[in-house]
Structures are given as C-alpha cells and as structure tokens.
C-alpha cells in the first residue's frame, strides 16, 4: 500500500496540463469537463503508453516464445500487480481483468449464479444501483427463479440500514451494492454492510465504479468478497475493467466464458481449466488497455490520494455553496458522506434544455436518468442535470458552471 499524505497539496495547473483534452475548446470556449461520472479524461502518460505499445511492442500475450510476446506478457502481468497494489488484494490471483465494471458484474452473476443460486434464493441490491448492478441480477433471477430484494434509501439518498438488515433471511445468497452512487454521490457504509452480511454468512459484491477514482479502496479492510471497477472511470482506457474476488471464492466458481487462455487442456472428452486468474480471462484480452490502466494507476499514485481527497473536498464545499446562489435549484442526494457529484434540477426548467445551453458554452454535463431509473422514480422526476467532478477540476470550472447555469436560467425563465 502507498501511504496517502494529506499534507501534500495538489498543483492543479500542472495536473491540468497533464490532460490534453482539458486544453481543448468546445464551441469556441475552453472546455469545462464535468461528466467524469460517465468517463474520465486520460493523462498524457496513459496516451503515451498506449502509443508506445501500439507502435513498438504489440504482440499477443501468454502465447509466443518470441521477444515481443514475452515483453507484452510481462507488461500485462505487471499491470495486474499494479491493480493488486492499488486495492490491496492479497495476491494477483485475485485480480481478473474484464471489459469493465459491467463485464465484471455479469461474470459474477453468471459464475456465482451457476454455482450458488437456486430456485427461491434471494439476492439483495439497493434502490440506488446503476442499471449494470441491477439487470445482470434480474437476468440471473429469471434463469434460476430467484428473487431480487431491494434496500431503499431516504430523501437524502442514504441507504436505510434498518431496512437492509430486515431483508436478510435463510434464503439470502448475495448482496450486491454500490460503494458510491453515480447519480446521488452518496458514499455507502459498505464496510459495516459487509460485516452484517458476513454475520449471516452472505458474501458481498461491491460496485466500485464511482469510488476508486476518489479515495483509497482497501479490499482486505472492507473484507468484500467481490469488488469491481472500470478502467475508463479511473483515468485509464476504455474496454478494460477489474474483477477482484477473494481467491477462495473465485476458486469455487466455474468459468464465465470459454475459449483461449482460460483452458488448461482441451480434449473432446473433457476440457480442464486454467488456474486463477486466467480461468476468467477467455480469448485475447484487451492487454493494451490493461497496461494503460496500470499506467493510469501509477499516475494517480504519483499524485497521491491524500492530495486528491483534500482537493476534491475543497471543490465539493465550494461547488455546493456556489450552486446555492441559483434560485430554485434543488440538489438530489444530500448524504453527509458524499463525493463531488451534483445531481440537480432547477424549478420549472427541463434538464435537457439546461444541458443543451451549457453545451454551447463549452460545459459538459450529463442530463437524464444516469442509468439509474429507480433513483429517478424514487424522487418522481424524469431526470436530472449531473455535474460530476474529478481531481483535475478547478474552482474556475465551478465558476463557469454557475455562470452558465445563471445564463441558462435567464434564457429559459
């Protein structure tokens, strides 16, 4: 583990220069990128790494005897070690590369489902899950005639812990819950929730897609059985994700997909499977993206979560107070423990209109349901405007957003 020193402050100008996209203009205005919940921008180091791999190192991994293949395999496995260190897994057998957080959840829904779910069993999710942590479980429930149970949240976007505990019974087989809500920003008390589930001998999957880019995650400290996240939301390339699973758990699960690299020996009578983590990595993996993810994590480590968290905390407080200047603005998701995601509506104005006007001012936000329709249903709204921030966002970005919103309100009211 890398110690996170909060005393180290962030050099924002330097950091912003590391991200080429942040230097660009949109509709003739300097870009203000506030759609980090959807995807994050890539630092120069990651872009250079991908170029280097494609220009001079490309070769399929785990296959050839030749120099390039061995070199690429080495880089790929080194990336796995970087990821292991990043979330403090015990060893690299616990780190499986996937296509993304969605891919990871689908893999668990299939493999864990095959092994452990039968008719009448129950899986617990929460009302604030991304569709990616709902639909794979619904599909599993349909396959196995199992049942989905849902933890509700309160008006601030805080999961109701009493309700959570009441959902447990002798049929509960798994809890799948998000670490941080992508539409409300709430940081859930997952460590306590995991402990409670384990007291009932129920394993837990944590969706960390919105967590790993904002704070240090330690899977051993959390004691989760599965932890998933996407590379592109943590400043790495698209098309790569991580599935962490406790080795003892992963060992018991059947493979998700069949094909190359996941096999030990293939005969028509019987095929035996490769060991962890390769058992879950069928076909040619997106090795360039995996290595790019490793570079992204090294970049984050070079800044340090102490500095990142301190800056994001300041940014959160500043943005929260400035948004209050706008008359009729209501923020959805007011948990005490929150990251810098602001989901909001302005009275009598459609979010899509605001989004369209902000776009022309060079400000990128997301409008709509953010792949969390149940959250919108909870508040009986059709969608929100979402400004989601990353550590490279500045106070000036907030100022531009507030100025843009004021202009939009003037036009639309």
């Amino acid at each position: 583990m890398i110690p996170d020193n909060p005393a180290v402050s962030i050099d924002l100008n330097l950091i912003r220069r590391n991200f080429p996209v942040l230097q660009t203009q949109v509709h003739g205005k300097p870009l203000v990128y506030l759609d980090n919940g959807a995807t994050t921008q890539k630092p120069r180091a990651v872009i250079d790494k991908l170029n280097e791999l494609l220009e001079s190192k490309n070769s399929s991994i785990h296959r050839g005897v030749h120099f390039l293949s061995e070199q690429m395999t080495g880089e790929y496995e080194y990336a796995r070690e970087i990821v292991r260190n990043f979330i403090n897994a015990r060893n690299t057998n616990e780190i499986v590369f996937s296509s993304g957080a969605t891919g990871s959840i689908n893999a668990v829904a299939f493999s864990f489902g095959e092994k452990y779910i039968k008719e009448g069993d129950e899986i617990i999710v929460s009302e604030m899950e991304h569709h990616s942590n709902i639909v794979p479980w619904q599909m599993l429930c349909a396959r196995k005639k199992a049942k989905l149970r849902v933890i509700p949240f309160d008006e601030n976007g805080v999961l109701l812990q009493n309700e959570y505990k009441l959902l447990f019974n002798e049929k509960t087989r798994l809890v799948a819950v998000t670490h941080v809500s992508n539409s409300l920003g709430s940081i859930n008390p997952v460590k306590e929730m995991i402990r409670f589930a384990h007291d009932h001998h129920v394993p837990v999957l944590i969706d960390g897609a919105q967590a790993v880019q904002h704070s240090r995650v330690d899977v051993q400290d959390l004691d989760c059985d599965f932890y998933v996240f996407s590379g592109h939301k943590v400043f790495g390339p698209t098309g790569i994700g991580v599935l962490y699973g406790k080795e003892a758990m992963l060992d018991t699960l059947p493979p998700y997909q069949g094909g190359g690299d996941m096999v030990d020996c293939v005969k028509f009578e019987k095929t035996t499977y490769n060991q962890l983590p390769f058992k879950f990595e069928a076909g040619t993996m997106n090795y360039t993206a995996a290595i790019g993810l490793g570079t992204a994590i090294e970049y984050i480590n070079s800044i340090g979560f102490g500095a990142i968290m301190q800056h994001e905390k300041n940014l959160f407080a500043y943005t929260q107070s400035r948004l209050k200047e706008i008359e009729g603005l209501e923020i959805y998701g007011n948990a005490k423990e929150k990251i810098s995601i602001f989901s909001f509506l302005i009275q009598d104005i459609h979010p899509f209109d605001i989004g369209m006007i902000l776009d022309k001012m060079g400000i990128a936000v997301r409008t709509g349901t953010h792949c969390t329709q149940p959250v919108m249903d909870h508040f009986q709204i059709s969608g929100t405007i979402r400004a989601s921030m990353a550590f490279y966002n500045s106070f000036e970005d907030t100022d531009r957003l507030v100025e843009g919103l004021k202009n939009a309100v003037n036009m639309l009211k």
């Binding site: 459609h350 709509g368 349901t369």
Partner: protein
C-alpha cells in the same frame, strides 16, 4: 406554400443569428409560441418517448392535407418541434412522405436530429411520415 420554400425561409431567418445563444433564444420563443396541443392528445398514446425529453404528436387529415399539433416538455426541443410543424403542416401527405428536411442541417441543428440524441425528434419526423403514409393509403383506397 411548398415544403421547400418554407425550409428556405427558415434558413434565411436563421442566417441573421450571430451565435448559438441567439439561435437558442429564437427556438425558445418559437417553443413558447407553438399553438397548444389539445390536452386530450397529451397522453401516452400520442407520446414519442425520447428518453431525455418527451414529444407528443397528433396528426389529422383535412381536405387532402396533413395537420399536425405537438408539444414537448423541453422548450428548446419544442422550438425545433415548432419548426418541423411549420414545414410539414398543411402539406399533401405524399409531399411529407418523401420530404427531405435539409433545413435542419443548414441551420446547424443536425445533431438534434441524430438518433443518439434521444430527444424524440428523430422519432417525431418518422411518425409524421408514417401518419402521412397511413392517410395517403387510406385516402387512395
């Protein structure tokens, strides 16, 4: 007036605008001025769900010409809806079926009629053409 002539008129109007805010302000104005749809047609049956914004569309056929009324919950979208209605209203069904809506591109709103925008406008144009086809077929029969 011919469908193409109305389009050319709109292109002419928009050419006066210097920047995006002017264009959007005009669309907002058009949205506000769009004659209201009969509330009885503002139901799910007439809803074109665009995921991001909603559009309601009703079509009628009078004296051989199509007559549309519509609404949207987003005002800029409603402004574009107003433009589409201005072009398509009181046209022969066969004209609408084969209409090439080049004005959208010319006034810089092309992105709003791309399927990825999910604002209901692409579906609205399709629906307008479908209604026209239906009335055309019925009328012929």
């Amino acid at each position: 007036m011919a469908l193409t002539k109305i389009q050319d008129q709109i292109i002419e109007e928009f050419s006066a605008f210097e920047d995006w805010m002017d264009r959007y302000n005009y669309l907002i104005e058009l949205g506000h001025d769009l004659p209201a749809i009969d509330p009885k047609f503002k139901t799910d049956e007439y809803l074109i769900n665009g995921c991001q914004s909603k559009v309601w569309l009703h079509a009628d056929f009078e004296n051989g010409k199509m007559h549309f009324t519509a609404d949207s919950d987003a005002i800029i979208v409603k402004g574009i809806v107003a433009l589409l209605i201005r072009v398509m209203n009181q046209q022969e069904a066969s004209e609408i079926m084969n209409a090439d809506l080049y004005f959208i591109d010319k006034i810089g709103l092309k992105e709003n009629l791309s399927p990825t925008r999910s604002n209901g406008l692409v579906s609205m144009v399709k629906k307008m053409k479908m209604y026209s086809l239906a009335y055309y077929a019925k009328h012929k029969a």
